[in-house]
């Protein structure tokens, strides 16, 4: 069973449809920690404000996800779901993240190399520096295009599985063992995005 976490942060329809399209028929859209603990895989989508992740704590889901992840359950965070895996975000400093990865998410700079940088970062951008050992990005070519829409981004670290350039490089995908995240929207990234989801389903 795949638990897609619903914490009222945007619309889950597209993510669920993409997973179903790829043959995942046992999907539970849930706010229940017991579902999280018995899930074979966990997907944490999320768009909008980092503050929304506060309800993961309020619903008692944080501890459940921490336990599931420690037990080896494959976990995929998407967009804000990736950002939540870090220590936090300057978007909502009072809301802690899971702290699975070091560092905080920060807003895109206003300028980059003396040019104005528009924010949010919206549209198709390419993923680069794909880590050869990434299971999530297996079979994806360097320079493949994926769809983004966000204003905050995760820092680079040893766990970064791929980068994208916008106002400098940021973490497009992160992966350590069974814990994974993508800043882009795989459910809206045509064949490349479907390949990412397919890789996750195959874990």
């Amino acid at each position: 069973m795949i638990a897609v976490i619903d914490y009222k942060a945007g619309n889950l329809t597209s993510v669920v449809k993409a997973l179903r399209f790829l043959g995942a028929d046992d999907i539970v859209v849930t706010q229940s920690h017991t579902d999280v603990l018995r899930a074979d895989k966990i997907v944490l989508p999320g768009v909008g404000h980092f503050r929304a992740t506060q309800s993961l704590y309020d619903l008692g889901l944080t501890d459940a996800m921490r336990e599931a992840v420690a037990g080896g359950t494959p976990f995929l965070g998407i967009c804000v779901g990736l950002q939540w895996l870090y220590e936090g975000s300057t978007e909502s400093p009072e809301t802690p993240g899971l702290g699975c990865f070091d560092g905080k998410c920060e807003r895109f700079p206003v300028t980059y190399e003396d040019n104005e940088l528009k924010s949010p970062h919206v549209g198709w951008n390419s993923i680069e520096d794909i880590r050869a050992d990434s299971r999530l990005l297996a079979g994806i070519e360097h320079g493949s295009f994926v769809y983004y829409t966000h204003s905050w981004r995760a820092p680079l670290s040893a766990d970064t599985a791929a980068t994208t350039m916008y106002g400098g490089a940021f973490t497009a995908a992160v992966e350590r063992g069974n814990v994974m995240g993508v800043q882009f929207h795989p459910e809206k990234s045509a064949e490349t995005g479907l390949q990412v989801l397919k890789n996750f389903l195959a874990l």
Binding site: K8, A9, G10, N11, T13, S14, K17, A18, F21, V47, G48, H49, K118, S119, P120, H121, V122, G123, W124, N125, S126, F145, Y147, Y148, T149, H150, M165, Y166, H185, E187, K188, S189, A190, E191, G193, L194
Partner: protein, 266 residues
């Protein structure tokens, strides 16, 4: 590198794709779901479906069309027309849209922009602006005809007295995720986008600006990206009737020096 987006627009009436010229002269161009999928395969970066009649009785038909169109469509999908409340927006999202486009209803009640954003995220709210420059005689007396371009509503039938630039800035402040700027002067005539107006709006806001109205060739797209500073450009008629597909179009736009998502036909 972030690429410029080329968006295929489907104007839908009564469940069929239609195409108008300067907001009138409607012709039938086919089934929305079929065309949306053809465009996505053909390299369109996004699909926009606008219900141009948006009557109350037609809502059921629209939601059914949205549902059918969203099935198996894995590029961003925007729906507009007749969305007057958060509940209207919710129904469209649940049918499979990723973003909604609001126009007249945002002018009537600007709080709607923030209300939809609060529930679905700012990225899901596109404020569509139908713009018309002042008439020739007034434009002659004006020092700034582009700055005086006015917002029209109700399918372009009603002037609002609002300046396009002012409204774009307000829409951003109220939480719009993107601006869809349609030049009514250029709409459907395939003579090129209104690059001056697009550039002014793009420079006035931080959020992405989608240029619309006037696409007739690859050169027009290149121009609106390079001169008009658009982040995305939308067209309908250029894609219908088998004129071209987006991969072919984008190869030409790329040759003009614009970064675009290139790919192969599948």
């Amino acid at each position: 590198m972030l690429t410029k987006r080329i968006i295929a627009c489907l104007d839908v009436r009564g469940g069929r794709v239609v195409k108008g010229v300067q907001f009138v002269d409607i012709v039938d161009a086919g089934d929305p779901a079929e065309l949306a999928h053809r465009h996505a395969r053909g390299g369109a970066d996004e699909i926009v479906l606008l219900d141009i009649t948006a009557t109350h009785e037609g809502r059921g038909t629209l939601l059914e069309t949205v549902k059918r169109t969203a099935e198996g469509l894995f590029v961003p999908f925007t729906v507009g027309g007749g969305i007057r409340s958060v509940e209207d927006a919710r129904a469209v999202f649940e049918a499979g849209a990723d973003k909604v486009s609001i126009n007249s209803s945002a002018i009537a009640r600007p709080e709607l922009i923030g209300e939809i954003g609060e529930s679905f995220g700012a990225q899901a709210v596109i404020v569509a602006i139908d713009a018309r420059r002042p008439e020739a005689r007034r434009a002659k007396d004006s020092g700034d005809p582009v700055g005086e371009a006015e917002v029209f509503v109700s399918g372009g039938r009603k002037p609002t007295g609002l300046r396009v630039l002012d409204w774009a800035v307000e829409a951003e402040a109220r939480g719009a995720g993107e601006i869809l700027l349609t030049s009514m002067d250029r709409d459907g005539v395939r003579g090129g986008f209104d690059c001056e107006l697009t550039r002014r709006v793009s420079e006035a806001v931080q959020i992405p600006v989608i240029a619309s109205g006037g696409a007739g060739s690859a050169a027009h797209f290149a121009e609106v990206f390079l001169v008009g500073k658009a982040d995305a450009a939308l067209a309908a008629s250029i894609f219908h009737f088998g004129v071209t597909d987006s991969w072919a179009l984008k190869a030409e736009v790329a040759a003009a020096g614009v970064p675009v998502r290139l790919g192969s036909r599948k």
